[in-house]
């Protein structure tokens, strides 16, 4: 290896990194500018910047499709994602506490089963689940989207919280028990507050994954009134004519805003959450 001066090598490193940043972020920057271009410029002109800024896409897109405004889709998505977060954090932390802190019969076997479900393709349980919800009259409601989370079916998060709780010193809850705390109080007042980083990671990922989820929402929701943001965006695809491009990209840009905001706010936590969940274990 040729030995270059430190500053030159450092400069080269930054240039290389910035080139990758440009390639990686290009699609997002392109989207941001496409959403304010005149419709005929979106695909026909290579330039990133529009010749003039047009906000028609946003006003037209916000009107939505099939008599339902896009605001409704956003409201539905926020409702589904918000309830999913609450349900997932609660049920997964309960199960995780049992696995990480309590002794009980079949613990090893149940834990192994939980880990196995991590690899289970969702499609295997999909059709019977659909039939169950169909017979209960719950298709075309938000229940099939939220109930599974209330019942901790997302093993990934149980596992993530278990790994975190295992790292909390055992002396703390042992001391609490000796001081006369019940197991329930120990969970609520000692272990849960200390698990905050894992719970925040769980919340953020649940929100983003639910927000992005397309498959489940498409399977269970039929009425345009009940549609979430991904389903609303799909309406633009179905009527994919050039005149609709402005609205489609404007709403696509809006759909990414909550995720981008979450990302900017919690970036450090997110990135660390991923690396620790992957490594320990």
């Amino acid at each position: 290896m040729t030995v270059l001066p430190r500053t030159a090598r450092s400069f080269g490193w930054h240039v290389l990194c910035l080139v990758i940043v440009a390639v990686v972020l290009y699609p997002l920057v392109w989207l941001a500018f496409a959403s304010v271009k005149p419709p005929d410029e979106i695909l026909s002109r290579l330039a990133l910047l529009p010749s003039r800024f047009v906000f028609d896409g946003y006003t037209k897109g916000w009107e939505g499709a099939a008599d339902v405004g896009f605001g409704r889709f956003f409201l539905n998505s926020f409702l589904v994602a918000g309830l999913s977060v609450a349900a997932n954090v609660l049920s997964c932390s309960l199960a995780a506490f049992a696995f990480a802190r309590l002794k009980f019969r079949f613990r090893g076997a149940l834990f192994a089963f939980m880990i196995t479900t991590l690899m289970l393709p969702y499609h295997v349980t999909l059709i019977p689940q659909y039939v169950i919800f169909q017979q209960a009259g719950l298709v075309n409601t938000f229940v099939p989207l939220i109930l599974p989370k209330l019942l901790a079916t997302e093993a990934f998060f149980v596992f993530l919280i278990v790994q975190f709780m295992r790292g909390i010193p055992r002396e703390l809850d042992e001391a609490a028990i000796i001081d006369g705390c019940s197991v329930y109080r120990t969970f609520w007042h000692v272990v849960l507050p200390l698990s905050k980083p894992a719970l925040v990671t769980t919340s953020i990922f649940t929100f983003i994954w639910t927000w992005n989820d397309f498959f489940t929402q498409m399977v269970y929701l039929n009425d345009t009134e009940k549609f979430t943001v991904p389903l609303g965006l799909r309406l633009f695809v179905d009527t994919s004519s050039e005149s609709n491009f402005g609205a489609m990209f404007a709403m696509s840009a809006l759909a990414l805003v909550p995720i981008v905001l979450f990302f900017l706010a919690f970036q450090r936590l997110l990135v660390e959450g991923v690396s620790t969940s992957g490594l320990k274990g």
């Binding site: 290896m1 490193w13 990758i20 940043v21 990686v24 699609p27 997002l28 392109w30 979106i42 695909l43 290579l46 049920s91 997964c92 199960a95 309590l102 002794k103 019969r105 149940l110 690899m119 393709p121 499609h123 295997v124 349980t125 999909l126 059709i127 019977p128 039939v131 169950i132 169909q134 109930l147 599974p148 209330l150 019942l151 901790a152 079916t153 019940s182 197991v183 329930y184 109080r185 994954w209 992005n212 989820d213 397309f214 498959f215 399977v219 943001v229 991904p230 799909r234 695809v237 489609m248 709403m251 840009a253 990414l256 995720i259 981008v260 990302f263 990135v271 991923v274 620790t276 992957g278």
Partner: protein, 324 residues
Amino acid sequence: MTTLRTPDPPVAPVSAARVRRRDRPAGRRRKSQPEAFAFLTPWLLGAVALTVGPMVVSLYLSFTDYDMFTSPKWIGFGNFAHMFTGDDRYLQSVQVTLIYVLVSVPLKLTVSLLVAMLLNTRRGANGFYRAAFYAPSLLGASVAAALVWRALFMGGGPVNEVLAFFGWHTPSWVDDPQFSLASIVLLGVWQFGAPMVIFLAGLKQIPAELHEAAAIDGAGAFRRFRHITLPMLSPVIFFNLVMEAIHAFQAFTPAFVIGGGRGGPADADLFYTLYLFEVGFQDFRMGYASAMAWVLLVVIAIVTAIVFRTAKLWVFYDDAEDRK
């Protein structure tokens, strides 16, 4: 709350058998059993009602003809036989999915490892680059990102134009059977951030002294990579490989959006899950869709098992007792 505590053992005289049971070492007496199951209740309910139960039912349905409106009709291995002998679109979906997994996973892991090594320094602005590279991993699965991708790779879109500038004239990628799948593969690779972050965490655990010692002994950068970095990183490579493969087998949204909801040009984007959705929820052939789901499960299980088996040959753990 105190009433919920386990009562102290009774002091009343007990039979010899009970005494013996009580005398077992403390560890075998599961003191918190009732509480543990109280904590596990939601998860257990979900495991029974939404996982194990439906698995049994879907296994049964896979041997039937079922349209949701009339009761299932037992047809034995009929669904499976039809899949492999009488259904060209099924075989097409298998082929598309296998190509996608075999191309996108190694490509994504290679890119994420290279970038992770690039970032594994103490230079400033490292955090910024890490965050920027990670961002697409969060957006990748969304309809919005797939729509953007579709536009970028359309005829006259930026990708066409840039390639034309370099003298390579390509058709509209998303409308051409030869190129359509490639655009979806690239969308998968674009999300290299998640495995990259995990690689980076793994790289940080390799002691710098190893590299220094090898460098003093005259080992070049490539040899150090081959004989230090790769073996030390192999558990992490293993983890990423398993996770990304499982993930790739189940890809849906990009194929749906970029392929226009119907599998793309000449079914070039007919991913396995896309065909399963079509069969199950548009044609209401729920028995057939269940059979497809079970084949997917078996294939993922076999692939995972192969990776786990071969892991003994190429995954090295620091401490043999630390094996999991």
